[in-house]
Structures are given as C-alpha cells and as structure tokens.
Symmetry: C2
Subunit: 136 residues, 2 copies
C-alpha cells in the first residue's frame, strides 16, 4: 500500500492516514490479515511524529478495522467480506451521509450529479475488490 498524506491540508494528518487505510480496505487493496507498516516505519516514511500514526491506528482499531498487538503490529481485522456492519455503524453513517449530501444540494449541485458521484465512487471500490485474485 502506498500511503501518502498532504502536509498542507486542513485535514489533520492522523485523519488522512485513517481515511487512506479505510479506502485501501474498501478497494480490496488491504484484505483481512494484511499487515500495515509499523508506526515507527510509517512515521519515518512520511516524515511525521510516530504518535500521529499511533493515533490513526488506534482510531482504526476502535472502528473495528485493525487489530493491534505487540507481536504482529497492525493487521487488518475487517473488510468488505466480513459480513454486514453493526446497526450503530449504519445509523451513524446514514446521518453523516445525510449531512454530506445536504452540503452538495445546498451548494447547488444537482441531485443527478450527486447521485452519479456516489455511483461512480462505489463502482470503483467494488470493481477493484472483486478484481482481487481474478486473472489479469
């Protein structure tokens, strides 16, 4: 996994790391059991403090996506194949989706354009995820 962050972004670095890992899991690039770089390694690669990487990994652990332990480091614990999400996740996610889509509508994006963006983004994840292991 090539993980890059934008040091000039308003989005905190730990959040960017978390977001990139979530996207890599969704796209099938990281499957259950995949190891992530150690916090010190990733911090050195990105030129950031290892506490920042720790914060990102801990957030992913609390979300149920990573398993952290002293022996194996950070390992993906959940992906698209792990069964349906918990009810509390779906409820919270739906509320955040509502706010994000409201933002687009309030800013004047047409509903067709917004829906097309949802569709093409989802297609990219699922095509990539399904493509894993198939002949090239």
């Amino acid at each position: 996994m090539i993980l890059s962050v934008d040091l000039n972004s308003e989005v905190p670095i730990y959040q960017q790391i978390r977001d990139r890992v979530v996207e890599a899991i969704a796209s099938g690039e990281l499957a259950v059991g995949s190891p992530l770089p150690s916090t010190r390694q990733l911090a050195a690669d990105l030129g950031i403090n290892f506490h920042t990487v720790n914060k990102a990994y801990d957030l992913l652990r609390r979300e149920g996506l990573l398993l952290l332990n002293r022996k194996n480091g950070a390992v993906v614990q959940r992906d698209a194949s792990s069964g349906p999400p918990a009810a509390h996740f779906t409820e919270d996610w739906t509320a955040r989706l509502r706010t994000l889509l409201a933002e687009a509508v309030a800013q004047g994006m047409g509903d067709r354009e917004a829906l097309a963006a949802c569709e093409s983004t989802l297609a990219r994840f699922t095509v990539t995820a399904r493509g894993q292991g198939e002949p090239a």
Copy 2:
C-alpha cells in the same frame, strides 16, 4: 426552523448546528433571504454558550451559505437555486464522499445498499425543495 442538538453526542455542538442548518437549506426549509435566530436567542433556546453558535454561523459564512451583518443578523445567502457549486467545493466534497462510502464498504455494507441510501436521502431533499410553493 426547529433546530435541535444532542448534548451527549461526540459531534461538537457547533458542528451539529452547522449540519442542521445545511440540511434545512438542502431540504428547502431555509431559502435565500431566510433569517436565522440571533446567536444569543439560539444559544438561550438550546441552553448553550453563544460563542458556540457564533462558531457555527461563522463556519457557515465561510462556506458561503450565510451572510452575517450587524443590521440583519444571520441570513441565508445561498441555496440549491443559486447555481452550481464552485470547483474547489466539488473537488473537496468528492474526496469526502469517497472516504464516507469507503467506510461503508469496508464495514461490509453492500454497494447496492449504500447506493440506495444515497438515492433515498437525495430524493428526500429534492422532493421537499421542489414542493416549496406548490399547491398542497
């Protein structure tokens, strides 16, 4: 507009106020020119500090959705009828959409279910917005 916040939520109060206003604009409940309650009034209604309301209104101002001035207070400056969003908005929004949809896929929500959630949320906004001014 009935604006309610959840004091026990992990989402900061100013963010909740901002989100509810965005949703009210998207649903057509607040159109261009609609006045919002004064910061002191809303703070008193919600039982919170008026600096928190100020922070929410200022965020909405920076997003181009509210106009703030001493004479008229906070007034909606932009809604779905104000033309297409700025390119930098669309770029940033698309990146946030990608992360949010990735979260659903990583947590095991099927792509059809995720797309259906997008579709029904958008339909609710646009039906309400279009319903404004039509005969009951």
